[in-house]
Symmetry: D2
Subunit: 310 residues, 4 copies
């Protein structure tokens, strides 16, 4: 049996398309799961080598079901991320004309991306929500609705035709997906990496969160995402999911994480992995005093002082 | 026509129950709306005096649809908040026995609160999602499902009986609701108040968010909620919805907000209002140096120095 | 009797020269005092309108006798500052040749400035300390020593000739003097001002001094001098004399001072006055978010929010 | 030839007394030098094993000549510190009565400590400054003055009698002395140690000094002394002599020093050595999250994360 990747199904969604952009996906069995939680649990249970799930998009921000499933349960680790631009096609049965369309269907999450297009082109069409965009396409195939918004790639699978492609109300609509596995040595740094952690504060006091973020700032580490999630201890109790620029083997990141570990009640490491949107050549130089070389020089200097050689 | 309050419908939900705990609700016409956005837009359009919507709960954290509807569009203001403990009743048609129940229904958000109870008491029941808990009750009344999880208060409205009450997997499950209206002079401080704002950073750099939070910390203002929300400018671009302890007429809060206004690209004030969970007697004393009296004494001192009287 | 200025005597020193650069000195009686303390006490006692004393130089830093005399006793205020470049002349009786000089005299503070010159030009001359450079000149006049290092201006007063002028080992040797009077309304801001204060910490804890300085930094106020001085409460107990860029009527400075007043055990305001080394045209623009205009706009915004007009 | 210690002479001063409290002084040749600079230069030149000099007192604060001599020149290191309470005896020739005393002498630094006593007991005595207290005693021995203020220990050496002992206007008058040698491995930590460093800022900007101090504060390191000293680059240019609680082998101190090394233009390590005023039992526990154990646990945790074992 080949190693398998679990992913948030069903087949024919943007998640599957994003997953297939990973070269290693070609050599794995790809198994759709009905929920993020079940896909991650398959990894925890050893049924899948890794799970591929959406974690952030430009409309919703951090995807809470994914974050919550990473925050609780046995530790998992993000291996990779994939960034996918989200544009929709309007799919219909062959022979359908735009003027024939009375009902349209898609997952509710698609609505913000197609609302303006609908208003301009099909102002009278009735919206019918579906469990997924792929499911909407299936229902169109079955004749239940006239057209579906889905990825263009779903047309072939469901025997439909794309009447229009590239539909997107919001420019830059993107979804970020992650490949999640059991803890392992993180991928080697590429020079354009990010590190994900979850922080639980020791107690709540003025300046508490400021001080947590100060552990990053003091070492010149930039934050990319800060998403608060309920801890389950009652309303108003939050932990913080954070993405920061850099790799855990970068000295500045390692020292920042050490600082957090010392002052937080708990820190969960979620992985260091290459940034999907950027290569090393595009990453700005670290702030003065925060490069690996400067960290090592400073460490050497302290060691020499400790040893009386200065 | 009496003044009206819009609220997130349908009738018979926890939202309506929470709304009715407000004394002023008795003198208003209460009108259910199909979405938070439409309820808030009714206020913006002048069709309703105020809107009552959920904004945070102990399972989901900040409720993103509400936050997003407050963050964008013409400014609105939070007048009041209500905190409601969420426990479910299992409602069925009179004469139904627990052993008769094959299908149960509720809004998907109810699931985390009843999952353990279901596993223990109705392990074989099939779950059917409904658009709201009230809708689930209606569908039970119509005979489509056998039982619904909803607030006990929904039983009478739909001619159902509560087979069990007080169902709640998570202790301390609570939802926070807010009454939102057009900008107005905030309610007078009670000594136990909170202030809500939205912050947009001027630019992104290491320490940027730490410095924003430092404006609160420097003045001894404690944070209660920090929820990042996408700005719409593409993935990774966030604004921050913040609840902080204190009233905008508190000197420490006023100075913190001034500081934020100076360094942020934009600050949206969402209101100062009494804290639902706490009265003035329970609020801890401000940190040394941050009381109104100390602020005023310091201001007087600077004025005397500016005037040469010291 | 004309109003009088006390100054650190005797006559014929750099202090007197610096004092005479002030236009108003021409209309006052200038009275030398034997010490900084006695000159300041003359002001406190109402015997002099103001006192003119050195407060900082490029070799010693803050001049501790002056700082201590300002820190203790009834409050005084700095009205003006004067910056004087310090170069020495070698003064001898007329007819003296360089080769005749066996003994040289000056105040010990002059030594670091003439040491290299002596080594190069009079390697065998014996150094004799005097109570002041002017006194050294007097002793040369009386024939006790062969030559004195003093300001060139002292030659005429003591009937001496300058064998050499412009002697200065250190480039940029300067002394800063201040005109100190009783508390009064500070001079109007010129756009290039400084503010002097003394801070006493409330208690001693990690980060305590950092937090004091943070009150300046949060408002974008730059520090020019930080000089610790013993409080008199035993070894290791210090207060801090601080010069900061800006005027107490600048909004950022006023708010920083308010912040310090709130968290310090005591703050003593020592005045806001024009910077001697710089005019408004040379002062860099304030950091973004810290100009008076931005402070006022932020204050207006908070006032509008407090009033419900936003 | 036995190893020798240089010290700030002459013989018979408080410095010598303090030096003799060190057990190792009994086995060294103790050689008085005319200045702190010359004593330290003797160490630099290899003529003395170490030098013993005053570095801080409760009246003057940091002793600038000592600090300046440590800041410039080839690096030296503080090995030990000694704290001495300073009280004076009034010494006179045998047979002298208090009423016979018309002139008193001492080093000017003694004046603040005996001024009140003089006013109360010898209001008409004329003050004559001497080069040192020991020198004043010698001049009394020679009959030039009637009495000298000096340490009681000086009586025997100069054949004088103490008419009064324990004279001290200020309670808690103390002087701190240090034994300074060439760089060597610092003494092992005792649990009650201090570390001395000199910092030069990279550039001058609002918040610059705050950020330097933040390197200590972030790691919970408390400061004991901050003394600014001119850099020699012109008025207003300062470096900072800092004493901080803890030993360079403490993890929190090592990390703070590394942070400073990275952001400062230059850091000079001046040594880690036992605190004279306190033993390990009296040192308060480190702040939560800053003990060696917590640093090591955090470092281990990061190493495990880097290795995929978490």
């Amino acid at each position: 049996m080949p190693a398998s990747y679990a992913y948030l199904g069903p087949e024919g969604t943007f998640t599957e398309v994003a997953l297939r952009t990973l070269p290693e996906a070609a050599t794995r069995q790809l198994i759709p799961y009905v929920s993020v939680q079940s896909a991650l649990d398959a990894v925890r249970a050893g049924e899948a080598e890794a799970a591929f799930v959406p974690i952030e998009n430009s409309v919703e921000g951090g995807i809470t079901t994914t974050l919550d499933a990473l925050v609780a349960g046995t530790p998992l680790m993000i291996y990779r991320e994939v960034l996918l631009s989200i544009t929709f096609a309007l799919l219909a049965r062959p022979g359908t004309d735009l003027s024939d369309i009375k009902t349209v269907s898609a997952h509710p999450a698609a609505q913000p991306q197609v609302r303006n297009w609908l208003k301009a082109n099909l102002p009278d069409a009735v919206w019918e929500s579906a469990a997924s965009n792929a499911d909407a396409a299936r229902l169109v195939q079955e004749g239940r609705y006239d057209a579906a918004f889905a990825g263009e790639f779903a047309a072939a699978r469901y025997g439909l035709t794309a009447l229009e492609t590239g539909i997107h109300d919001a420019e830059n609509a993107q979804t970020r997906f992650v490949l999640v596995g059991r803890p392992a040595r993180p991928a080697a740094p590429t020079g354009a990496d990010k590190t994900s952690v979850v922080l639980w504060q020791r107690d709540d006091h003025p300046g508490g969160l400021r001080d947590l973020l100060g552990e990053f700032a003091t070492r010149g580490v930039n934050l990319m995402l800060l998403q608060s999630r309920p801890t389950g201890a009652g309303i108003g109790n939050y932990c913080f999911c954070i993405d920061a620029e850099g790799h855990i083997t970068d000295r500045r990141m390692a020292e920042a994480l050490m600082g957090l570990k010392r002052i937080c009640r708990e820190v969960r490491f979620l992985g260091s992995y290459p940034r999907a949107e950027m290569s090393a050549a595009d990453v700005p130089a670290p702030l003065p005093g925060t490069s690996d070389g400067e960290f090592m020089a400073a460490s050497d200097w302290v060691a020499r002082c400790q040893d009386g050689r200065f």
